[in-house]
């Protein structure tokens, strides 16, 4: 960027985001203009599993604005460098900012031109530091992130929350997925799942989320990371089942009930 441009941006930043410090460490809402209070446009669950050739990750394409399903074409999973895939739930503007940070990270990594490239473990560690440090300043990035990848034949799958809690596992889920998808995964996940079985397992989880999560929409993508690289599927919709007899006329046996 040209020099004059950054001066303007800094000038603006200085003018409008001066932290007000009256000595208290815990600031009131009015006095503290530096604390993120609540999210506006949010994405719902991410579900991800390790499988035979790498990692599979699923997310829907919704961006909710409170209770309104406002945006229906948001990609919440993005490739990072050659070896990683980042999925995010929570505030979309914060996710977009994280992607900018990672862009810079990958750019600087490429500029070394030394044949090395950032693997998923490194990216996950970087994100953990970013999220935890923001949490310590009481100004979190309002996201739960899922980082999956494959490098040198090793699969990696990890998660970071908005308060900096970070861990790896064979299967992870965010938001509602924690309550609805993980029980399914605990029962049915096993090592060396084929691609087909992995996709079916994820679709089973996403269908349950569609039935039971108010902020889920029926438009999803599944992403795959293997040694070859990252691919994100086209958007598609799942069939749903409503033909249980009890759904058809639930009050048949007891008129007036619900």
């Amino acid at each position: 960027l040209p020099v004059w441009f950054s001066i303007n941006a800094d000038y603006f930043f200085l003018q409008f985001t001066i932290p007000i410090d009256n000595g208290d460490s815990v600031k009131t809402a009015e006095a503290d203009s530096q604390r993120t209070l609540y999210p506006y446009v949010t994405g719902t669950s991410i579900v991800a599993i390790k499988y035979k050739d790498g990692v599979l990750m699923a997310s829907d394409m919704g961006g909710s604005y409170g209770s309104t399903l406002r945006y229906k074409n948001i990609e919440r999973m993005k490739a990072i460098g050659k070896h990683s895939l980042l999925g995010a739930s929570g505030e979309i503007s914060d996710f977009q900012e994280i992607l900018r940070y990672l862009d810079e990270l990958v750019l600087n990594d490429n500029m070394w031109d030394d044949g090395n490239s950032l693997g998923p473990k490194e990216v996950h560690n970087y994100l953990t530091r970013v999220m935890y440090n923001r949490r310590n300043k009481f100004n979190p990035l309002w996201n739960t992130l899922v980082l999956g990848g494959v490098k040198n034949g090793e699969s990696y799958l990890g998660m970071v929350s908005m308060i900096g809690v970070s861990f790896e596992d064979n299967h992870v889920a965010t938001g509602f997925g924690n309550h609805l998808a993980r029980p399914i995964l605990r029962d049915e996940w096993h090592a060396d799942l084929s691609f087909e079985d992995g996709v079916k397992l994820l679709e089973k989880c996403m269908r349950v989320l569609l039935y039971r999560d108010r902020s889920a929409i029926n438009k999803l993508q599944i992403a795959k990371i293997t040694e070859e690289g990252v691919t994100v599927s086209q958007p598609y919709s799942l069939k749903t089942f409503w033909e249980f007899k009890a759904f058809n006329n639930p009050t048949a046996g007891a008129e007036g009930s619900w």
């Binding site: 603006f12 985001t17 900012e97």
Partner: protein, 233 residues
């Protein structure tokens, strides 16, 4: 009833941006309210940033004006340095920069629309929080709540310029009918490779909706025009 004339100026608003085959159409109502009082019944919420990029403003009038002013200033410098017109994407990202970095203080939702030679007509929605979303059409402001269903049904790709403008005028007009914070006239701005056209549709030139009546000069006209028993049940 307390009018609360000291309440901050807020544009309740209905704003719309729509792409069509060759450019974009931006539309908005014209009501600015201070609490329950209509401070300005003929505001212009579609603001120019460059020759080829305009922005629809909603939310706090002050916040949206100051953000527009800064971005117009940045884009002016950028255009001089670049040596050619700024793209719609750059304009949207500059607004995003201000909206995101000051998210705790700003309360404004914006729709950026314009035409450039690389991407043609583009619309970017920038809601509260500073998310940027490129969309074939965008709606915003308090009146937009009443238009989600309408657009789900009425929107189609590759409309002509006339179809797109008619859709925008109809939509703003429908929102005005139901949203107390929207009202006044419908303004549209059409941007394409040929340039920019501003249009103005006063309230009385719009189609009437459910339970709305044809405006009259006076009851007396009705009484005189009608037959012998106009006042009868």
């Amino acid at each position: 009833m307390d009018l609360n004339l000291d309440a901050p100026h807020s544009m309740g608003t209905t704003i719309i941006g729509v792409t069509y085959n060759g450019g974009v159409v931006l539309g908005a109502d014209s009501r600015t309210s201070t609490g329950m009082y209509v401070a300005n019944r003929a505001s212009d919420k579609i603001t120019q940033l460059t020759d080829n990029v305009y922005v629809c403003r909603s939310g706090s009038a002050a916040d949206s004006q100051v953000v527009s002013d800064y971005v117009r200033y940045f884009l002016h410098q950028h255009t001089i340095q670049l040596g050619q017109p700024a793209t719609v994407k750059v304009s949207a990202n500059l607004i995003r920069m201000l909206a995101y970095n000051n998210k705790n203080m700003l309360q404004t939702g914006l729709i950026v629309g314009g035409w450039d030679k690389y991407e043609g007509g583009k619309i970017y929605g920038i809601p509260l929080g500073g998310t940027v979303v490129e969309q074939p059409f965008a709606i915003g402001g308090s009146g937009s709540s009443y238009l989600y269903g309408f657009f789900d049904q009425a929107w189609k790709e590759n409309m002509t310029k006339e179809e797109a403008e008619q859709l925008v005028v109809k939509a703003v007009s429908l929102a005005i009918a139901r949203d107390g914070a929207s009202g006044g006239v419908v303004r549209t701005v059409i941007i394409n490779s040929e340039g920019v056209t501003r249009n103005f549709y006063p309230g009385d030139k719009l189609q009437l909706w459910h339970e709305e009546l044809e405006p009259q000069n006076s009851l007396l006209d009705i009484l005189n025009a009608a037959g012998p028993e106009p006042m009868a049940m």
